[in-house]
Symmetry: C2
Subunit: 768 residues, 2 copies
């Protein structure tokens, strides 16, 4: 744990410059707007340790896959997030002395991420080697209203300096990644050009030919008066911008407002990129800082109205849950089905910035509740659009007849990962993609989705499972051999209970869905049936598998087994692992992890969370009580899921303890890894731990259900959800729950299994 | 199968230029002398497909390990064989036209690898674009007598050309690898210098700073008369040599003899390298071609005397077994305990040119029988010298108390491989290294080896096993979880029978060895005991493990199980896999291989081969009959081992069929992969398939035993072995076996369990 930030209900605050935490701060103070993501790199030159993070949604690099340890079926290229040309740079000089917080003396440093309005602010005083002292204030935001626009206001007041102060607002195309492809040049800079008022840089990714153009313009002020000075134009091979300055006396303040437009070939014709970027930058400048910012913060106000959670009497918890909601909304805005959510969002290079099954397992439920329906629908359509590539992927692995295997890690539907134990074996992802369809339809009631899109995906997945099973020579049952379950601390196991269960569930759900569509929309069924060459015979095999699947269990203990042979391990509770060996993934070798009983996240618990309606509470409790103590929760998706299940089985203390592990994972840097980036997807889990966990929210047969309970430390908590046209606020207090039907028609719902009717725009109080 | 070579008892012959087979031929016609290895790359420029292979024993490159998919415990660098400066080049020009067999018309091409005398010869006619026709004859060898010297005689006769013929004998430091590190520069060329008579190139490997110096000199002849023409000196940044020529008329022959010395910093002080190389090259030239060649071929004559096998009435088999003996002797000469045998020897880049457990499993038995004792001893000392690194390796993986884990792949004792399923899990290698000590002591009777060296290695290995086991929570037995056995078509399995068995065997053998040394050499025992901080308590745990190890088996079928759960697979005989899917490792994805019942080499059979004296013949037969049909023998070590076991259980047909698969594996390119290099280590297996298989040779209680049987197709076969001071020739005919005690004292041995006494220098005939 590495606490160094202040608690505050609406802000993340760093008081004093924590040089050794700069990489962590760069992650924590990240900004984003779903289109651009930006780590909190300093605008001015900084010679200290830093990791540039300047990312554009949908822009990635296809590197040639390494051939060492090659396996048949691996993809030839790996796609990776890359640093886009850096739009943030503003070098600052006092005459020839360049401001550098690693070299200058820094005082009264304060950095604030304002979540309510969505901006980053930094103030400090700096003293040069010559003793020149300046007071600096920098504010920046990435517009949520105009997602191709960012703005920075950089203000310098002279405290004892007389002479020239210059700013160099730049766009820098000479960027590399730090970890992946550490010495690779991704970009061909096609053009740098600086006109009188606007400067742009146009670049193209090597290999996959994405085009990006960044344009910047600026206004210079002295003591709040706009200056019209002639800039020096900067037009280097890979850098474009201006150098502009003025003379100051003690007490003078100079301020440069930088307006940047960053557009790319996903959304604009290549040949118009430079013109459009320049036009957009000029328009931002003409609009002016205040209006630009108002439009931006108005979007945030709307987001908070839909998704805020209030925690009464626990500021650290309040701050943390808002931080989660804030970062999720910064990462994905739901307007573009070509985009998705990477585990680290746009805050680092880990996970290659690509999409994993986190989206379906944990993000979709968040967006379902807090955003208009089309946001989650776009997340589903992302996979639907990738179906042909998933079928191709399965074909490459030897499957036939339209079987689909979605990738472990992807940008465009192609597999972007090359570890056999995941690429080929972590196949439950297919099940989770099916489950997300189920979840979406269950929550929204959008039955059309199945007929239009969902069924095609489901049959690809069902066909995959029907080919992935084999019949055991010894037990004469269907088995699934050679898989890696959600607990990635086991690789290549046989009969992973979760995988076997979700496989069977997929087959059942596909059959149900086919029958539903057949009944309600026969024309759609017929069209679909033909387009995927569906034959009714397929269902016979599926039913055989459903009926004769093998599930590992231990009847004496009354538990399902993570996989065959799990009880051959020496079972050691996680609590017995010495502190200095945690997290084990940083201290133990892989074989030791694999052989030990240590669980990253318990597959069985994950399954019981997904399919809780199919199990009695005692069974869930027994399995939870057996597995949770063995679990180190080193997957960022683990504590939240286990917290929800703990709530469901009534283990309030465990539920709260686990909630704490997810809630401030990044802010308190539990695993000493926030420098690499934030755990964006796990933030959705934090939200779920409150809403599904403490709030006990479920959707059963088209109705909302709640089983509220409140952590002892809290006086009250309240959350907002959208449900089929209703906007609801649920406030849980010690002794009562108040549900406010803010918007929409009257609604019937259940609290602790009791039906409640709430009229439109009114509220009901239920005693706990 | 890709037959294109002629059969011949002593030569490998290619008639006609097989352009599409050039990569394969480069492997097959490789030369080596234990110090230098050289693929059959053409001397003259060749624009066609080629893979340079010019290797120096012990010289490798430490590349920075890729960080992608990193696991704790992986090594930071990977060591790989690299192309050394190429000593073979001789460009040939007719005026300005450069000879190039890819472009010129080629006729009467013939390439011969003469195994009896150890040289490569190539003759052909070539016609230029201008119609100039020449007849070329090239001969080269790498001296077995002076292993730092190579020589090439390049002769060109004009058939219709009048004008200048020039040769450019070169040493080229501008070399790269083809597959691994494909675009990496390994070498800093420190100096190129050309004096009047000798030219040298001095280079240093990047990172690990090996120094190599190659020097060349030459003699030019015209119609057998030595010419003294003034050469043009070539002294480029990375290439050194000469350009020298003369005018010819039709019928004239010009010939260049190139003498090369290649020395390195393993054997010479860095600062004297250039001088010594030049001196050595000059000395070779002064000695002259004939004497140099005579000394070289005399060494071969001696090798053949010790190790030749004669197969009567089957030329293809005769050729193949000699090829195996030839290549093994080219790869390793046993004079230097810093060197070892890589699976591909010096014939390609695969397996990184590093040492694997092939050496202990299969090469040591070959060298034990065919070479002086110190050759195998040096192979054992190689591992002994690496013990500190093996202990360090184990420590890196979390083991303590001097436990040792020898690397999967190594040059200098450090682990050079990074796949967790091998590096961390393919731990039976440790057992095989212990087994090699046992094998050596059993064969040679050199009991001192244990006290001096062996015991230290054994205890490191025993300590490893005692920490690698765990007690099953369920079965209350010792188990070994998470291993990859010799059948690498299973990864990360539990209770691999072979691994469990060899672990227990190691513990037993270590206890026995300790007791033996204690009894026979108490002072050595005490010194040893102290130096490894041995405590008698350790033995209690070892005995507990020995007594309570779990072994997977199926009593109904009467077989040991490859690993837990093996019978949950759908069992499909290898014979049912369609031809066009073989070898499966080139056609199936990894997950499909892992899930299938297909076996690369059967672990259980490997164990029964090693430890046959501990099992009755029926058990061996039952297991062999169960597993062999499931086995695709895609490990080059598989057919030989299985052939020996087939012989042992009396399955003559299977033994012969499997022998055929190993015998001409490379010459007939069974698996379509000889282009990558030869299967050097498997050649030792071919030899064993005859001597231990058909010859039934064993050493039991210090005595040689034979159980001869003869394949139906053969009239007779004969092999030579050295055994504790005796040199024996064993000739097996249809109805009798003749054993000739060529050298050494009289000897008692057993044929078909019957004791035979053979006086010195005499022979005995035994009816079969």
């Amino acid at each position: 744990m590495n606490k160094y930030l202040q608690t505050d209900p609406w802000c993340i605050i760093e008081e004093g410059f924590h040089v050794n935490k700069q990489l962590a701060s760069e992650s924590i103070f990240s900004l984003g707007n779903g289109h651009i993501g930006q780590r909190a790199n300093f605008e001015e030159y900084y010679s200290g340790e830093t990791m540039l993070g300047s990312y554009i949604a949908g822009i990635y690099y296809s590197e040639r896959a390494e051939r060492g340890n090659w396996k048949n079926g691996y993809s030839d290229t790996n796609d990776r997030i890359i640093n886009a040309p850096n739009w943030t740079g503003i070098s600052v000089r006092l005459n020839d002395d360049r401001l550098d917080l690693a070299e200058w003396d820094v005082q009264n440093f304060r950095r604030v991420l304002n979540m309510r309005e969505g901006f980053l602010e930094r103030t400090f005083e700096a003293i040069s080697f010559k003793g020149h002292r300046i007071q600096v204030s920098v504010k920046r935001f990435l517009s949520m209203a105009e997602t191709e626009v960012g703005a920075i206001s950089y203000s310098v007041k002279s405290l004892n300096y007389e002479g020239r102060i210059s700013f160099l607002p730049l766009i820098d195309g000479d960027v590399k990644n730090k970890y992946t492809n550490y010495d690779e040049q991704f970009w061909n800079v096609l053009q740098t050009k600086t006109q009188q008022d606007v400067s742009h840089l146009w670049a193209q990714t090597r290999r996959n030919d994405f085009h990006v153009c960044g344009a910047l313009t600026y206004v210079l002020y002295k003591n709040n008066e706009q200056l019209n000075v002639n800039p020096t134009k900067i037009e280097k091979e890979k850098v474009a911008g201006f150098s502009v300055g003025t003379d100051v006396r003690i007490g003078d303040t100079v301020c440069l407002n930088k307006y940047v437009a960053i557009i790319n070939s996903l959304n604009h014709p290549r040949e118009e990129l430079t013109e459009r970027a320049c036009t957009l930058a000029r328009a931002a400048k003409n609009k002016g800082w205040n209006q630009l910012f108002e439009e931006h913060s108005a979007v945030w106000a709307g987001k908070w109205l839909q998704s805020d959670i209030i925690i009464d009497s626990d500021i650290a918890a309040q701050q943390a849950i808002r931080y989660s909601i804030f970062q999720l909304n910064q990462t994905y805005n739901g307007n573009d089905a070509r985009l998705n959510i990477s585990p680290k969002g746009f805050t680092g290079e880990k996970f290659a910035g690509a999409t994993r099954w986190d989206t379906e397992a944990i993000c979709i439920p968040f967006y379902l509740c807090t955003s208009p329906q089309n946001v989650s629908k776009n997340l589903l359509l992302y996979r639907f659009r990738h179906l042909p590539k998933a079928i191709q992927n399965a074909e490459n692995l030897g499957f036939t007849n339209g079987a689909a295997l979605f990738p472990v890690s992807t940008f465009n539907g192609g597999e972007s990962h090359n570890e056999w134990e995941l690429t080929f074996e972590e196949v439950h992802r297919n099940g989770i993609i099916a489950y997300a369809i189920y979840n979406y339809v269950r929550y929204t009631g959008d039955q059309n989705y199945l007929a239009e899109y969902g069924l095609k995906v489901l049959i690809g997945i069902a066909r995959f499972w029907s080919q992935r099973v084999n019949i055991s020579n010894e037990k004469k049952k269907f088995m699934i051999l050679g898989v890696t379950g959600p607990n990635m601390y086991e690789n290549n196991v046989n009969n992973n209970w979760f995988t076997n269960y979700i496989a069977v569930w997929c087959l059942k759900y596909t059959i149900e869905s086919i029958e539903k569509v057949k009944k309600t929309n026969f024309r759609a069924f017929e069209e679909w049936s033909q387009s995927v060459q569906f034959s009714n015979d397929e269902i016979f095999l599926w039913k055989d598998i459903i009926e004769n699947m093998y599930f590992p269990e231990n009847k004496k203990l009354g538990i399902f087994l993570q996989q065959d042979g799990f009880l051959n391990k020496t079972l050691t509770p996680a609590s017995e692992i010495p502190e200095n060996q945690l997290p084990v993934n940083q201290h133990w070798t892989w074989d030791r992890i694999l052989r030990s009983s240590v669980i990253k996240q318990a597959d069985v618990v994950q399954g019981l969370y997904f399919f809780e309606e199919n199990f009695d509470k005692e069974t869930i409790r027994r399995n939870f009580d057996f597995y949770e103590p063995l679990t180190v929760h080193e997957s960022s998706l683990s504590p939240c899921t286990h917290s929800i299940v703990a709530s469901a089985v009534g283990d309030k203390q465990k539920a709260y303890d686990l909630y704490l592990r997810t809630a401030r994972l990044d802010l308190d840097d539990y695993n000493n890894e926030v420098a690499d980036g934030l755990h964006i997807t796990s933030m959705a889990g934090t939200w779920l731990a409150i809403v599904q966990g403490f709030g006990g929210m479920r959707v059963i047969k088209d109705k909302l259900h709640f089983h509220p309970q409140i952590p002892e430390k809290w006086n009250a908590f309240a959350f907002n959800i959208m449900f089929r046209g209703n906007q609801l606020n649920i406030r849980v207090e010690k002794n009562r729950t108040i549900i406010h039907n803010i918007k929409g028609a009257s609604i019937d719902l259940f609290v602790n299994d009791k039906q409640i009717h709430i009229a439109t725009e009114s509220q009901e109080e239920i005693l706990n």
